[in-house]
Point group: C2
Chain length 254, copies 2
Amino acid sequence: MPRIAVFNQKGGVGKTTTALNMAAAMARAGETPLAIDLDPQAHLSMVSGVSEGSAESSIYAFYRDARPLADLVKPSQHGWSLIPAHLELSKVDTQYGKGPNILNRLKIGLVKENLNGVRPVVVDCCPMLGVLSLSAIFAADKVLVPVSADYLAVKGALQVEKTLNALTPVLKRRIERRYVVTRFDSRRRMSWDIYESFRERFGADLCETRIAESVSLAEAPFSGKDVFTHAPGSRGAQDYQALYDELKASGFLQ
Amino acid sequence: MPRIAVFNQKGGVGKTTTALNMAAAMARAGETPLAIDLDPQAHLSMVSGVSEGSAESSIYAFYRDARPLADLVKPSQHGWSLIPAHLELSKVDTQYGKGPNILNRLKIGLVKENLNGVRPVVVDCCPMLGVLSLSAIFAADKVLVPVSADYLAVKGALQVEKTLNALTPVLKRRIERRYVVTRFDSRRRMSWDIYESFRERFGADLCETRIAESVSLAEAPFSGKDVFTHAPGSRGAQDYQALYDELKASGFLQ
Ligand SMILES: Nc1ncnc2c1ncn2[C@@H]1O[C@H](COP(=O)(O)OP(=O)(O)OP(=O)(O)O)[C@@H](O)[C@H]1O
Ligand SMILES: Nc1ncnc2c1ncn2[C@@H]1O[C@H](COP(=O)(O)OP(=O)(O)OP(=O)(O)O)[C@@H](O)[C@H]1O
Ligand SMILES: [Mg+2]
Ligand SMILES: [Mg+2]
């Protein structure tokens, strides 16, 4: 069962939107996905319709009090479960170096509790390469990198690639990764130019599926729903379904 | 002369785009603005056409080696100057509590060197409320808050308002602030609904000017230019000019 970190240190590229709708696509395919919100700003928790809880009932309790991850799982209303985040989680990022194993704790917890023997895990990251995002990458088998089609996102994607490659000797394995272009505006010449340059740079690591800029994806959080529930026929739903199908077919979701 | 922090802890709402084009608008009005990049990911530095430098020639040298800010100023090619950032700057964020006065050092430096007696200062922040962004807010007279017209941005704007109000007793003054809606898509019903709800919530603190989603703003960084230089007649240039004019007329840029 895959453990997927949704990561890009660039802000606003669609990490949370991707984590949410990938978990929903997995649930619709009959899997029982577990989403983990590893962003102190708790955006995935907010858009999952999970009401705001205390730090003690969030993933921060795993770090601070060694609470079992299984105790922190909340069902969302749409077929997938979530361990929510909390603002206190930012204390973990400022603890770099204050524990030899902090980067490995999430992986150890998931493996020890066998939380993903039978269920896929999707981790949403914050827009910073700190202890939390590194913990997600260390815990994951694979990294899904949403990239938007603009200048700083191009720079950011190259930075992500560098980071993942730099971690290969540390983790003693090559981290499997896929880049998916999001917020794609097909009317812009620039969008296609960038897509082509990603294709040249990342080859088969670049998804064929592009997630179009689509109002259904921006609207869905207002009803606390994923896009399939909020707007089943919409472009946004079709694109995330296509992304799920492509990643499934290519073995990325094994 | 104003010191303006461009801040929002939400990623990808247009902080860097706003900092760049506000500095450019000031330069076109005959002012001599100084931009300070306080994001370890150095996006403002990248889009200013300032080539990537060492940590020693970035704002990190001010923090680590107490180098004078004046020594770190680089001219950009379009009439405004910049103190660039560097990835090493992330070490400052992890030093919370390791220096009683770290939050005040930028303000003290600017005042002591009288760096903005005659010139306005614009500070670009990273998408996190840590030591760096707090330093920018402490150093600034005013905060300009770009907000995009979507669900998480609404949540984020309320969070920013809470944060600024919570700092009032700490700073012993009310931080003057303006919210500006960015990446506005006037064809979406949702955009107008959100704008109206911001108007209700923020009243006169919400700018009349809305920055439309406009390809010229996304393209300009590819040529290392601000939008006025890259696409003078474009919607993006008009909108940022209008924002500058509005903030000037209302006294926010005094
Ligand atoms: N394909 C899309 N079409 C329309 N809107 C989108 C799309 N993808 C994302 N959005 C909207 O853009 C905003 C930013 O997306 P999102 O919050 O998922 O990005 P993020 O990378 O998680 O941001 P952060 O770095 O702040 O965590 C959200 O409000 C979301 O609703
Ligand atoms: N009004 C707009 N129209 C079109 N594109 C825009 C607009 N504003 C911003 N963009 C593009 O959206 C992307 C995100 O904007 P920007 O990087 O300025 O946001 P940010 O808040 O600084 O992000 P971060 O949180 O990562 O620092 C950029 O590539 C930028 O070119
Ligand atoms: Mg997010
Ligand atoms: Mg920025």
